[in-house]
């Protein structure tokens, strides 16, 4: 089987991740921040080590600003619903994932104003329009770091500067960017960076989080409250990080596995893996560009994208093609809207979406050659 759906979740997971999770489940009972046994302390230390790794990788000094959640969507909801009140104005791009758009549409019903900044047909945000809208004031700018449809990477540092200059909070949906390119949260004036553990970090599903600035953390209401293992004598939620936003038992097994995923990423080199994925993307473009019925979306310059390539086929049903690829050729890609209708409207692939190929460290040119040959065979048969 050939797996080309790494933007959904990377597969396979590194052996180190599997071994770490296996070891943890077999040998360490207890819960992070709960209990005082040597195992509970050991688990807590391991979880803290992962906070440190995430903080270092994303450009912040204080690991306690890393809040673990269950995925990036949870983290984004936590920020949007904990911050925004009726009358607040939010600026977002026209490439956003439903993880951002759906909670914001819900908040819009309660009086939050949404301002959409257009992106061009390649998915790149219009900075002049953003600048003009930011000058009119807003509570929050929210932009995804890289598109899950086209791989287009947004100019996050520039957007951060615009946010900072206009005293607007800045949220980045980093689900596709984290682990692919270096991120500098503090230098780029990012107040909240939502990440997931099971994509570019090569960890297990059910892991993710958000890195918060101190100014946002003090404004933000927690989405849930409850036991934190700290200040147990008090009936009110602690106000310090990360406890304020981490009620209930954490997925310590998953988080420790995430740490092993980050180790794998660093050992192999984030730059090296990104270069490999870009090489694969270029190779696939080269193999498909002569097919007249194939229409690619987004930037063709892979240096400005992640390892994602989206396309559709003239007069052919996407689901039929992806189904044949899967059942006949053993190739797994993703077809459809990828939970991002807004992005497809921007790119011109709405309402049917695209066939998306997305790569990881483990994919090879041979796999993509087989994919290209298989696809061409399907197209020839009609």
């Amino acid at each position: 089987m050939i797996y080309l759906d790494n933007a959904a979740t990377t597969y396979p997971k590194p052996e180190k991740v599997i071994e770490t999770i296996n070891f943890h489940l077999r040998n360490l009972g207890g819960s992070t921040g709960r209990g005082q046994s040597q195992w509970a302390i050991e688990i807590s230390r391991k979880v803290y080590d992962v906070r440190t790794k995430v903080a270092q990788l994303l450009g912040v000094n204080d690991p306690l600003r890393v809040i673990f959640t269950y995925n990036a969507t949870y983290a984004i909801n936590m920020v949007l619903k904990g911050l925004l009140k009726p009358g607040d104005r939010v600026i977002l791009s026209s490439m956003e994932h439903n993880a951002v758009v759906r909670p914001l549409r819900n908040l819009e019903k309660r009086g939050v104003e949404l301002v959409f900044i257009p992106c061009n047909a390649e998915g790149v945000i219009n900075l002049d329009t953003l600048r003009n809208q930011a000058r009119q004031g807003a509570k929050l700018i929210t932009v995804l770091g890289a598109s899950n449809v086209s791989g287009t990477i947004q100019p996050i540092a520039e957007i951060g500067k615009i946010s900072y200059d206009n005293d607007i909070l800045f949220l980045v949906d980093g689900a596709q960017l984290a682990g692919f390119e270096p991120v500098e949260i503090d230098n780029w004036h990012i107040d909240a960076f939502a990440f997931t553990g099971h994509k570019g970090f090569y960890g297990p599903q059910g892991t993710g989080g958000v890195v918060l600035s101190s100014r946002l953390a003090s404004l933000l209401e927690p989405l849930i409250e409850g036991g934190t293992g700290s200040k147990s004598e008090e009936e009110y939620q602690p106000v310090f990080l990360p406890d304020k936003f981490e009620s209930g038992t954490l997925n310590s097994t998953g988080i420790i596995g995430l740490g092993a995923g980050i180790d794998f990423l660093l050992e192999n080199g984030m730059d090296t893996i990104a270069s490999h994925e870009r090489m694969l993307r270029d190779y696939l473009i080269e193999n498909l560009e002569m097919e007249k019925s194939i229409n690619m979306f987004g930037l063709l310059d892979s240096q400005k994208t992640t390892g994602i390539l989206s396309f559709n086929v003239k007069n052919q049903d996407i689901s039929t093609i992806t189904n044949i690829l899967d059942r006949v050729y053993g190739i797994m890609v993703r077809g459809g809207l990828h939970c991002s209708p807004l992005a497809h409207k921007t790119l011109g692939s709405f309402p049917y979406g695209t066939i998306r190929c997305s790569f990881s460290h483990f994919n090879t040119q041979d796999e993509l050659l087989y994919f290209s040959q298989s696809l061409k065979e399907i197209l020839r048969r009609g």
Binding site: G35, Q36, R45, L64, G229, P238, L241, D243
Partner: protein, 74 residues
């Protein structure tokens, strides 16, 4: 011995990390219940390294609840 009390196990782990980095001998121990009824942890250090530790805590903006002199048997 000196017992360092902090508001949350997460801060204890942060201090643990700082002290490990500076190679300052220390121990993480359960906080005695009369001091904190929650599941909190504390850090135990030798008095000899107290001054150095306090300096590190200040530099890293760690909000210390208490510094308590305790017996060696804790």
């Amino acid at each position: 011995m000196i017992l360092i009390r902090l508001p949350t196990p997460n801060w204890i782990l942060k201090v643990n990390h700082i002290l490990e980095k500076e190679k300052i001998p220390h121990q993480i121990i359960p906080t005695p219940k009369e001091l904190d009824p929650s599941c909190n942890l504390s850090i135990l250090i030798d008095e000899i390294v107290l001054e150095q530790t306090i300096q590190l805590l200040e530099t890293n903006e760690v909000p210390v609840d208490d510094l308590l002199r305790v017996s060696n048997e804790i």
